[in-house]
């Protein structure tokens, strides 16, 4: 995986929201790299900043939010562009959105306009980014719908979003996102709104498409199992910090951060039977306006070290095999 070229590099990104209640540090010093063709999973509970990280990459952060620090470098044809420096309404970022980087949202009903057919909306994307005629764009849209497994794409292309079932809508949205062959697809909770059997269909589809089209993938979800199915690398976030990141097979076998350990233990596992013991993390995620001092996880942490964890923010520690963790337990001095 390290052989393929670097595609996107996020370095020390911080996105804050400014509101009457104060400054909300939604993303606070997050760094990660994605190589071409790689799949990265970003996991965490609500309010951990995983969606804002994705919005920052595409520069679609809501208007009261601002990227205050950091770089997001996109590498294209040997050149790098810092997305943070671009005008968020400018021509350049518009070419990248939907072209180089595409996004799939949780709720397909919200991503499509109600008053146009899906064909209309997909061809619009294609014609914005590629130089082609209306009928060529339509052919490509049909081809794309067929590729995502839409039954009778010649007919469904003229359907309105409300006429499609949840799974079909999800497929249509994936088709729209992939219609310009992006180098990176960001999927924000792609299967949270659909049923289990549909979720299996969508996950299988995304796996196939990623392999066939060789694109990189960022999956944002609270469901570690979805990440385990799809991703090569995992980054766990908590209150705007990247607390742990590692290759997927490493992090699920040998989690280091107490939060990751807790997350893995709080999910009942299929096949473990009626008698399995859950070991939930105590308390709940604090309000982001009242972020704890020191390590943000320390009030809930079973390994809490007084006078260390509540005072100093732990540094990012590099362990063997590309495993990074932000925890005082692993500081060696």
């Amino acid at each position: 995986m390290t052989q393929s070229p670097l595609l996107l590099s996020v370095d020390n990104l911080a996105t804050h929201f400014f509101s009457q209640e104060g400054i909300l540090e939604a993303v606070d010093g997050v760094s990660f790299d994605i190589h071409a063709g790689e799949a990265l999973g970003i996991a965490g509970e609500s309010g951990c900043g995983k969606s804002v990280t994705a919005q920052s990459i595409l520069r679609i952060v809501p208007s009261n939010g601002k990227i205050v620090m950091g770089e997001i470098s996109l590498f294209q044809n040997g050149e790098s562009i810092d997305l943070v420096q671009l005008d968020d309404r400018g021509q350049e970022i518009r070419q990248i959105r939907g072209g180089e980087i595409a996004m799939v949202f949780q709720e397909p009903m919200a991503a499509f306009s109600m008053v146009y057919t899906i064909g209309n909306q997909i061809t619009e994307v294609i014609r914005l980014h590629q130089d082609c005629s209306q009928s060529e764009a339509r052919d490509r849209a049909i081809e794309m719908l067929r590729r995502v497994g839409m039954p009778q794409p010649e007919q469904t292309i003229d359907a309105y979003p409300f006429a499609l079932s949840g799974g079909m809508r999800q497929r249509a949205m994936i088709a729209m996102a992939l219609s310009c062959h992006p180098a990176l697809l960001i999927a924000d909770e792609p299967t949270t709104a659909v049923d289990v059997t549909i979720q299996a269909q969508v996950l299988e589809l995304m796996k196939d498409l990623q392999r066939d089209m060789g694109m990189a993938l960022i999956v944002i979800t609270h469901d570690l199992a979805v990440i385990s199915e799809l991703c090569d690398r995992v980054m766990i976030m908590y209150l705007g910090k990247d607390v742990e990141s590692a290759p997927a097979d490493v992090i699920f076998r040998d989690p280091k951060h107490p939060y990751t350990v807790g997350l893995l233990r709080s999910v009942p596992e299929l096949g473990e039977g009626h008698s399995q013991e859950l070991d939930p993390i105590t308390g709940s995620v604090p309000s982001p306006y009242r972020r704890p001092t020191g390590c943000p996880f320390h009030p809930r942490c079973p390994e809490f070290i007084p006078d260390v964890c509540d005072v100093h923010l732990p540094p990012q520690i590099e362990l063997a095999g590309g495993h990074r963790v932000r925890c005082h337990l692993y500081v060696q001095d």
Partner: protein
């Protein structure tokens, strides 16, 4: 914090037997009544009319729940599981008569042995029976009135039913209930907005348990919560069940939760029960192709344990439209094992007890006994 004796009125519980010792000879809801069943549901139906045009003529009906029969024994957890639109929530609401069923019978047995047919009760009688039932909803952000304090929310059932005389007594009761769900009683004067999602769900649970119910319907109680909080609520529900001998009808789409919490499970598809039996035996060896597909569709975290990876079955298409149910077996358009008979003849719910040991195991499939289906293997020893 945990106080096992927090609610004093629970001393008269007759059935302390663990659910696995319950009599099993009874046929689902149809056979001779067993004294240990809190609930016996027989042929429950709920059809919603489809109205069209200016005169609101009925042009069809949605069979949301179609001839559903099951029983819930005292002290056990029965899970209703299925995808959206399968009728699991409608079943739960019909059982409590929160909505009116179109037909069938729901027999409710109180702790003192009195049997009540819920479907024929008048409104005032129904209200007095409903105090023996509690309900927990999915979203604690919409199920609690934001204008009432916690004291008023949890105390409301006592006040409206005039069960309590003084304010002191009410506060003591509410404090007890808050302690039983592991919340600090000093919070009782706060409003719901001051609490996190998990705490709100605890308040909702305390309210459901306020009148010492025989039976609690929990409709997706953890689906709206964060992962780490889900685990807290699940273990709380399990602890409360053993402390207070609660009986749960647990409605969920999450199979891992079903396995963790329930003794028996009823798998629903398009308004019908397709499989019903003990959770461990169904999960180990399902007998209906839909159950098999559901189990294999659940994504799992690969922790590196060998042998956990299962062959995934990807079902084609979507859940059938309940207003236009396919002929024959409702599952046949998606079934990987479909035969000609499935397209024409509707299978009946049959008991496979003989084929599967001593526990009743109901399956609605023509080939239930022939198919070798794959379940969830326990992790390798």
């Amino acid at each position: 914090m945990a106080q096992a004796d927090a609610v004093p009125t629970r001393t008269n519980t007759p059935a302390d037997s663990p659910p696995d010792q319950l009599p099993q000879q009874l046929e689902e809801g149809r056979g001779p009544s067993s004294a240990d069943n809190v609930l016996e549901v027989t042929d429950l139906r709920k059809y919603f009319p489809i109205l069209r045009g200016f005169f609101r003529r009925q042009v069809g009906e949605v069979k949301a729940v179609d001839e559903v029969s099951f029983h819930v024994a005292r002290g056990e957890t029965l899970a209703l599981v299925g995808e959206s639109g399968c009728g699991k929530t409608t079943t739960g609401r019909c059982v409590m008569r929160a909505i009116e069923p179109s037909g069938g019978s729901v027999l409710f047995r109180k702790r003192d042995g009195e049997e009540i047919e819920i479907t024929t009760l008048t409104k005032p009688d129904l209200r007095s029976v409903q105090q023996h039932m509690g309900m927990i909803f999915q979203d604690p952000f919409s199920s609690l009135n934001p204008r009432l304090t916690v004291l008023e929310i949890i105390g409301e059932p006592f006040v409206t039913r005039k069960l309590i005389s003084g304010r002191r007594e009410l506060e003591e009761k509410v404090a007890e209930l808050l302690r039983s769900v592991r919340l600090d009683p000093t919070y009782m004067r706060r409003y719901p907005h001051a609490f996190s999602g998990g705490q709100r769900q605890r308040i909702a649970i305390a309210r459901a348990l306020a009148l010492d119910p025989d039976f609690v319907v929990a409709d997706e109680p953890v689906s709206a919560l964060d992962v780490s909080v889900q685990a807290q609520i699940l273990s709380l529900l399990k602890e409360l069940q053993s402390e207070l001998h609660l009986t749960y009808l647990f409605i969920t789409h999450n199979l891992s939760v079903v396995e963790y919490l329930s003794d028996r499970v009823s798998v629903m598809y398009v308004g019908q029960i397709v499989e019903l039996g003990r959770t461990d035996s169904i999960f180990r060896q399902p007998r209906h192709p839909y159950t098999e597909a559901l189990l294999s569709a659940v994504p799992v975290v690969e922790t590196g344990k060998a042998g956990l990876r299962r062959e995934r079955i990807i079902l084609e298409g979507d859940v059938a439209d309940p207003s236009n149910v396919p002929a024959g077996c409702t599952f046949h358009p998606r079934c990987p094992y479909v035969q000609d008979i499935c397209r024409e003849e509707e299978p009946q719910l049959v008991d496979l007890t003989g084929a599967n040991g001593s526990q009743p195991h109901y399956v609605r499939c023509h080939f239930a006994e022939e198919l070798e289906l794959q379940g969830v293997r326990n992790s390798p020893q």
